[in-house]
C-alpha cells in the first residue's frame, strides 16, 4: 500500500508571498524521509502540500506537480478530500477530538466519513490501530474514556492510531515530538521505525539527532534571507547528509555553525 511520491518543480505561494521555490524530490516508499532546516524555510509547507492541507489557508496555491504512485495530486479531477484520505497526517500538538472517547477517536476517520461500519469490524480496527500505534496495552481497559484524559505522549500515539485507522498509504508527521518529553519521544520514534514497514513516512523535525536516528533519507531546506522563498538545498541518504554532505550550507547547519 505504500506509494512513492515524486515532487517536480514545486513552487508554493501564499497569496503574493512566494514561500517555497523549485523543489524537486523523490520520496521512497516504505522508508522514513526527514525534512530538516531552520524555522521558516518551508519544510512544513512542503509537507502540507503532500496532502493538500496547505489549501485550507485562504490564498494558498502551488505550481508544479506532486505525483503519488504516478497520479498527480494536483490534477483537476483529483479531490483534495480523497488525497487526504490516502495521505494521513500527525500534527505538532496532539489534537484528539475532545468530544470523543478513545475508541471514537480511533474510528473518527471512518465514522466522520460516514462509511457503514459493523461492530466487529470497528472492534478489530480499534485494536489493530491502537496496537499499530503501541498504545493498546495502555488503554485497552478504558476505551470509553475521553481521549483528552491521556498524557501528551499517549495523545500523540492516539492521533497516530487515528491516522492509520483509515489505512492511508503515506503518513506525514509535522514535528510530532516537539511537544513531548524524552520518554514519549522515544516511544514515538520506535513507532516510526515500525510504521515504515508498511507506510511511507515523512517527518519534519527541528531535532537533527532525531532525523539521524529515525530517517533513511534526509532533505535539508534553507532560505537565503527572510522574505525570500525557501528551497531544497540537498537531499540524500541520511548517513551521507550527516557524515559527508555535498553542500557547505548543509554541513554548516548540521554541524551547528548556524541555525
Amino acid at each position: 500500500m505504500a506509494k512513492r511520491i515524486d515532487v517536480k518543480d514545486l513552487n508554493i505561494y501564499y497569496g503574493d508571498f512566494h514561500a517555497v521555490k523549485d523543489v524537486t524530490m523523490t520520496i521512497e516508499p516504505r522508508s522514513v524521509t526527514a525534512f530538516i532546516g531552520p524555522s521558516g524555510c518551508g519544510k512544513s509547507t512542503v509537507l502540507r502540500t503532500l496532502n493538500r492541507m496547505h489549501e485550507i489557508i485562504p490564498g494558498a496555491y502551488v505550481k508544479g506537480t506532486v505525483e503519488m504512485g504516478g497520479k498527480d495530486l494536483y490534477s483537476k479531477d483529483t479531490d483534495p478530500v480523497d488525497v487526504r484520505r490516502r495521505v494521513g497526517m500527525v500534527f505538532q500538538r496532539p489534537n484528539p477530538f475532545p468530544t470523543m472517547s478513545i475508541r471514537e477517536n480511533v474510528l473518527a476517520g471512518l465514522r466522520l466519513n460516514s462509511k457503514r461500519l459493523s461492530k466487529s469490524a470497528a472492534d478489530e480496527l480499534v485494536e489493530s490501530s491502537l496496537r499499530g500505534a503501541n498504545l493498546w496495552q495502555e488503554v485497552k481497559d478504558r476505551l470509553d474514556r475521553p481521549g483528552s484524559g491521556l498524557s501528551g505522549g499517549q495523545q500523540q500515539r492516539l492521533c497516530i492510531a487515528r491516522a492509520i485507522a483509515v489505512q492511508p498509504e503515506v503518513i506525514l508527521m509535522d514535528e510530532p515530538c516537539s511537544a513531548l518529553d524524552p520518554i514519549s519521544t522515544l516511544a514515538i520514534e520506535d513507532l516510526i521505525n515500525e510504521l515504515k514497514e508498511e507506510y511511507t513516512v515523512v517527518i519534519v523535525t527541528h531535532n537533527m539527532q532525531q532525523a539521524a536516528r529515525v530517517s533513511d533519507r534526509t532533505a535539508f531546506f534553507n532560505l537565503e534571507a527572510t522574505g525570500l522563498p525557501g528551497e531544497l538545498v540537498e537531499m540524500n541518504d541520511t548517513r551521507i547528509i550527516f557524515s559527508n554532505p555535498h553542500k557547505t550550507a548543509t554541513e554548516d547547519y548540521i554541524s551547528g555553525r548556524f541555525g
Partner: protein, 374 residues
C-alpha cells in the same frame, strides 16, 4: 565582600527609600465606621431626611472617614486599599438593591396568585368587572388566569427560536468557517451589529408592516410576533455563536480535514459538537432576552382574552402583554386590585421563566462540555 554587603542590605536601609506599610493592621475601624454609617443613615431618616439623601450622605461620609482614619493610622497605601474597598462595597449595594427589591416586590405581590392552579389553568375569557367586584366586596375567589398568556408566550417564543436559531447558526458558521475576512464578512458583521441596536418597537412595526403587505393591513397573529422577536434574536444568536465557533481550536479542524473528512462534515461532526455547550447557552440566553418583550408583541400580535393555540389565526396573548394590559385597563376600573394581582402574578411567572432559562443554559453548558477526565 561588596556583593555580600549588597545582598544583606534591605530596601528600607537605603537612604531616600521610604516604604509604605503593606498590610492593614486590622479591619476593625472599617467595620465600626460601616456600622456608624448605617446608624447615621437611620437617625437621619428618623429625623425626617429623605431616604436617598440620608443613605448617600452617610455613605459618602463613611468613605471619607475610612480614608482619613487609615491614612493617619497606617499611611497612604493602606488608606487607598480601604477606600477602594469602601467604594466597591458601595457600588455592589447600588447594583444589588434594585434587583433584590424588584424580586421581593414581585414575589410578595404576585407569588401567591401565580402558584394557584386556577390562575395557571384558566384564561380571561368571560371575566368581567362584575367578577372582580364580587372578589373585592364579597370575598369570592379570584377568577380568570394567565393560561392563554403562558401558552402564547411559549408558542411565540418557540417559533421565534425556530426561526432565529438556524439563521443565526448558519450565519455564524459562514462568518467563521467560510469567509472570516473580506468585504462580505465585514458587511454582515456590521449589519448584525446594527440589528442588535434596533429598538424592539421597530421590530414589531416591521413585522406588522410585513404582515400588512403579505396578508392585508391589520393582520395580527402569532407568526407575526415570532418574526418580530426573531429580528431581535438573530443578532444575539449570531454574535454568541460566532464567538463560540471562533474558540474551537484550529487543530481540531485540521485533524479532521487531514483524515479526509470533507469540510462540511468537519463542521457538522467536529466543530459544532465541540462548541455545543456554548452554542446552547447562547441560544438559551437569546431566548431569555426576548421572552419578556412587550411592545413588538402588542403591535404585531395584539391582545386576546381567550385561549388561542393557532399562531396563524388571529391575536394571541403573552405574559408581558397580559401584565401590561391588566395594569393599564383593569377589568373593573372601580375595583382594580384583582386585575393588578393578576398582572403581578404574570410578572412573577415571567421572571420565573427567565430564571429557569438561565439555569437551564448553565445545565446545558455543563452537559455538553467536552469531558477531560473519567
Amino acid at each position: 565582600m561588596s556583593t555580600q554587603a549588597l545582598r544583606r542590605r534591605r530596601l528600607d536601609d537605603i537612604e531616600g527609600v521610604e516604604l509604605n506599610p503593606v498590610r492593614a493592621s486590622s479591619n476593625r475601624a472599617f467595620q465600626v465606621l460601616a456600622a456608624l454609617a448605617v446608624i447615621a443613615a437611620a437617625v437621619l431618616r428618623l429625623a425626617g431626611v429623605n431616604l436617598a439623601l440620608a443613605a448617600v450622605g452617610s455613605y459618602l461620609a463613611f468613605v471619607v472617614l475610612v480614608h482619613l482614619v487609615y491614612r493617619v493610622r497606617n499611611g497612604g497605601r493602606v488608606a487607598a486599599d480601604k477606600t477602594a474597598k469602601a467604594v466597591l462595597y458601595g457600588t455592589f449595594i447600588v447594583a444589588i438593591v434594585p434587583l433584590v427589591s424588584l424580586l421581593g416586590t414581585v414575589i410578595a405581590s404576585g407569588g401567591a396568585t401565580a402558584v394557584n392552579p386556577d390562575y395557571l389553568l384558566t384564561s380571561m375569557r368571560g371575566v368581567t368587572g362584575v367578577h372582580d367586584r364580587a372578589t373585592v366586596e364579597e370575598g369570592a375567589p379570584l377568577i380568570g388566569g394567565a393560561y392563554h398568556a403562558i401558552i402564547g408566550t411559549l408558542i411565540i417564543t418557540g417559533l421565534a427560536a425556530l426561526i432565529s436559531v438556524p439563521i443565526g447558526l448558519f450565519t455564524a458558521v459562514f462568518l467563521v468557517e467560510y469567509r472570516s475576512k473580506g468585504r462580505l464578512a465585514t458587511a454582515i458583521r456590521f449589519l448584525v451589529d446594527v440589528m442588535t441596536g434596533i429598538p424592539s418597537i421597530v421590530a414589531g412595526l416591521f413585522a406588522f408592516a410585513l404582515w400588512a403587505v403579505l396578508f392585508g393591513v391589520g393582520t395580527k397573529n402569532g407568526f407575526s410576533g415570532a418574526v418580530a422577536l426573531s429580528v431581535l434574536m438573530i443578532p444575539t444568536v449570531v454574535r454568541s455563536a460566532e464567538e463560540m465557533l471562533r474558540i474551537v481550536p484550529n487543530e481540531l479542524r485540521e485533524a479532521a480535514l487531514a483524515l479526509g473528512v470533507p469540510k462540511w462534515r468537519t463542521i457538522v461532526r467536529v466543530v459544532l459538537p465541540t462548541a455545543a455547550s456554548g452554542l446552547a447557552a447562547g441560544v438559551t440566553l437569546a431566548i431569555a432576552r426576548v421572552v419578556g418583550e412587550t411592545a413588538p408583541l402588542l403591535v404585531a400580535v395584539g391582545v386576546t382574552q381567550g385561549i388561542n393555540v393557532n399562531p396563524g389565526d388571529g391575536p394571541m396573548n403573552t405574559l408581558a402583554v397580559y401584565a401590561y394590559n391588566l395594569f393599564k385597563y383593569p377589568r373593573n376600573p372601580g375595583y382594580p386590585d384583582p386585575s393588578l394581582d393578576r398582572a403581578w402574578a404574570a410578572a412573577f411567572l415571567l421572571i420565573l421563566v427567565v430564571v429557569l432559562l438561565n439555569l437551564s443554559a448553565r445545565l446545558i453548558a455543563r452537559f455538553f462540555a467536552p469531558k477531560t477526565t473519567g
